[in-house]
């Protein structure tokens, strides 16, 4: 430590003394600091003039700075504010413009062109990757694998509502309600077993005697079960009802292929008959723009199972 007492005569002190001899120098502020301070004052005044700043009565000073953007092809100019800045950003920032160029190409192209043109397809994949992640992956999972029992697989060629671009687009716009009634009240346990054995037989699983399969067939195609009304004759599915094909051994609701044995498989089918099914695909017409829906439709179609 230097000895403060030596310099005491040269520089003025504040005159306060604590603890007997503890004193403070009263040095002038450094020049650079003082000018820096004046600069902030000048900056503030310029800022007040340029940007919204002071409340006056029930409004406020808007500043001279302006932003121009378009509404329905008409130019509109307002005082500077973050909302106008955003509108301009959405309309004319470089990344927005570049993205719009691609989106306009997609909007103008037919699905067939999109799905066969490598450039367009690459754009669809990268753009959809983002919106699929935000809006779809929580249910259908990344890559479209779905979850058995909860959300259908979009990456295979087994469709509830149809895998053509028109049907996929319709699914996205209006949403879907998958509904199968519960048979708790209409079929007894034996009848359920029969029809379950029949359903498994058309999917290629052996087990159960021919009599039971025959009885199940009659329930499936008769008034008692009426399964054919939705699942179609022979159980090949009906996309207008969102009823799946039961003959292809692809299962969306129950995990039949991984069941231990035939009894377990029968039990699984019976659980569907007892509980019925009700599940909902939300409508996206209000949430996504038509072009986003188009991009997603093409994306889902190219995941693997498009028809």
């Amino acid at each position: 430590m230097s000895k403060p007492t030596e310099k005491k005569g040269a520089v003025q002190t504040t005159g306060h003394a604590w603890d007997g001899d503890l004193q403070e120098y009263n040095n002038p502020l450094p020049r650079w600091w003082l000018w820096g301070f004046y600069a902030t004052v000048v900056f503030a005044v310029v800022y007040w003039l340029m940007y919204p700043a002071w409340p006056v009565g029930n409004t406020f000073t808007k500043g001279f700075n302006t932003i121009t953007f378009e509404v329905d092809g008409e130019e509109r100019t307002t005082h500077w504010n973050t909302r106008a800045l955003l509108v301009r950003d959405m309309q004319s920032s470089p990344s927005a413009v570049r993205q719009r160029e691609f989106l306009e190409q997609i909007a103008a192209a037919s699905y067939e062109e999109i799905l066969t043109d490598a450039d367009k397809l690459a754009f669809v994949r990268s753009y959809a990757h983002g919106i699929y992640g935000d809006f779809c992956a929580a249910c259908h999972q990344v890559g479209g694998a779905g979850i058995v029992g909860l959300y259908p697989n979009l990456a295979n060629d087994d469709w509830l509502w149809g895998g053509t671009v028109e049907r996929i687009e319709e699914t996205l716009i209006q949403g879907r309600l998958g509904y199968m009634p519960s048979y708790r009240e209409t079929l007894n346990a034996d009848q359920m077993t029969d029809v379950a054995v029949y359903v498994l037989s058309i999917a290629g699983y052996e087990g159960g005697d021919a009599d039971a399969i025959g009885r199940g067939d009659r329930i499936f195609h008769g008034a008692e079960g009426g399964c054919f009304q939705c699942h179609n004759v022979g159980g090949v599915g009906r996309t207008s009802q969102g009823a799946p094909n039961l003959t292809n051994n692809i299962w969306q609701i129950i995990d039949v292929p991984n069941a231990a044995d035939h009894d377990a498989r029968v039990e699984l089918v019976k659980s569907v008959l007892r509980n019925g099914i009700q599940r909902q695909m939300p409508a996206f017409a209000d949430r996504l723009s038509p072009i986003e829906i188009k991009v997603l439709t093409a994306y889902v179609h190219q995941l693997g199972g498009g028809q």
Binding site: F69, V71, N81, R83, S93, F135, L150, R279, Q280
Partner: protein, 244 residues
Amino acid sequence: MKHETVETNAGLLIILTLAVISVGGLVEIVPLFYINDTIEDVEGVRPYTPLEQRGRDIYVREGCYTCHSQMIRPFRDEMLRYGHYSLAAESQFDHPFQWGSKRTGPDLARVGGKYSNEWQVQHLIDPRSVVPESIMPGYPWLIENDLKYSDIQARLRALRRVGVPYSLNDEEYQANVERFGEETARWLDINRAEENLVAQARAGNYDGNPSRITEMDALVAYLQVLGTMVDFTQYDDGYFVQFR
């Protein structure tokens, strides 16, 4: 007052310091209460129904706001991900508001209608069963706990006291009919709060079990209404700019 008096008097120093730094806050905040344009002129925003309000209470109780904001800011990337930026009008009946700035999870200001009720229930019970990489905790008790709503009238009365237009008498009810329309006014009638709450839970069947009213019913009803009250297709790009 001498400099020395202030510097040697801790109590006085604290008071004067607080007075000086509060100027900044006051100048920024106070005008918002009387500037005409603070709350946008927009149709559709109404106070929460009794069931939604109970759901909101549970949202606060469970601390969902520690990970989720409800404020879509006016930036391009936020608009692309979450939808239209939040309006002041949309949280005018929120006490306390849930804007927040901590986003461990996504913003929820417009999560209403994004997913089905079944997804919400499944996700709240066990987030990783639908989003394998999720770090959100599960809230399985919500589906087990019966919703307590015997005090719903008191809760709505408290909100009414801070300015939320729930109606207590005929005059206020008529004012609500005028402001929100007959149907909404009925939901906002404090005298019918229990009845309304039960009716909405029965009809909505948010948790998939119509025979019970659980905390899950209330929370999902609340989540499903978030950000859905304003129909943005009614307003052009420039409309909300005029309020800033």
